[in-house]
Symmetry: C2
Subunit: 187 residues, 2 copies
């Protein structure tokens, strides 16, 4: 049996952390409580309860849910990792999808996600400028279904806005009922 690394990470909003919040916007639904800095630490929510934080949310780095093998190969070829020195800006986008979305079967969700909304194809156009990591939170009973974390250089800030603008016009986004968009800079 393979050793299992923990898939869990906890996002902590408070008075300290390597990322400083530039702005926080509720695109749809309630906003987050105010905080000035963000920290992302390995481990479940309970391992960080002692830390001073005004906001806490956990997520799991997990396997891909909709990507096909040929898409995966293309993504791997084009994308770069987090932590690049020039990528001093970040975005944390939190979303929850509607009960109707979750009641769809796999083929229906894939069809909306890619064949209609081109979520993967659109994202691909912004590689390698925008690096990305998805955290799954729905099965953890958290407030949001997903947190997507993006890192990019200041000169790609406009490109990133274009990317989220395109995604928000898709059919997939009709199934989003809560969305918060935070922009951050390395502190």
């Amino acid at each position: 049996m393979s050793e299992k690394p923990s898939p869990l990470f906890t996002f902590l909003g408070g008075n300290e952390g390597p990322w400083k919040v530039l702005r926080a916007e509720a695109v749809l639904g309630k906003k987050l409580p105010d905080f000035a800095f963000l920290n992302i630490l390995p481990g479940p929510r309970e391992s960080h309860v002692s830390k001073l934080a005004t906001w806490r949310h956990s997520g799991a780095v997990s396997h891909e849910r909709y990507v096909l093998r040929r898409e995966h190969e293309e993504l791997v070829k084009k994308q770069e990792g987090l932590g690049r020195p020039q990528a001093t800006l970040a975005a944390m986008i939190l979303i929850s999808k509607t009960p109707q979305w979750w009641a769809f079967s796999q083929d229906e969700r894939r069809k909306i996600f890619e064949e209609s909304s081109e979520h993967i194809a659109i994202g691909m156009r912004y590689l390698p400028a925008v690096a990305r990591r998805l955290y799954h939170s729905r099965d953890l009973g958290e407030a949001f279904d997903f947190i997507t974390w993006f890192e990019f250089a200041p000169e790609h800030s406009g490109k990133f806005d274009e990317l989220v603008g395109l995604l928000r016009q898709t059919e997939e986004w009709r199934y989003i009922e809560h969305e918060v968009d935070l922009r951050l800079i390395r502190a």
Copy 2:
């Protein structure tokens, strides 16, 4: 925004609970610690830490991952729910899949799961005799990736053994690296 019910449940093995363990077998890999009774309670692991238990494992009831709409419709038509009075026997099957499985893309996993292994089609033949609920645990950082809970009447015990026997011969099962099979009876 819709109110989100918690998807989490915790399995507690110890000296009390509505299900009595008849036998526990490690099909592949390590067995569980010994316990005589099992309880399944709503909520995350941390909400049950005060309870006396020799074994504890949480899981989330989540959306379907491989089932297509037409398969879903057929399942819904044929399956019955948990808690039927005549279904006095249960099985709890815990499995973890290999890193290779999780590195596959969605189309590769679906192909092995159904087009090769006929996981859904085989299960369908045992409906409505065998009722079933799947709990997802991998993203929670738990020891097993899944717990599947089955309930059936004593006269369908042989059928249930046939079902798990068929599944264990499939291509999908080559990607299973840990499997424990517990049989239980209503206490």
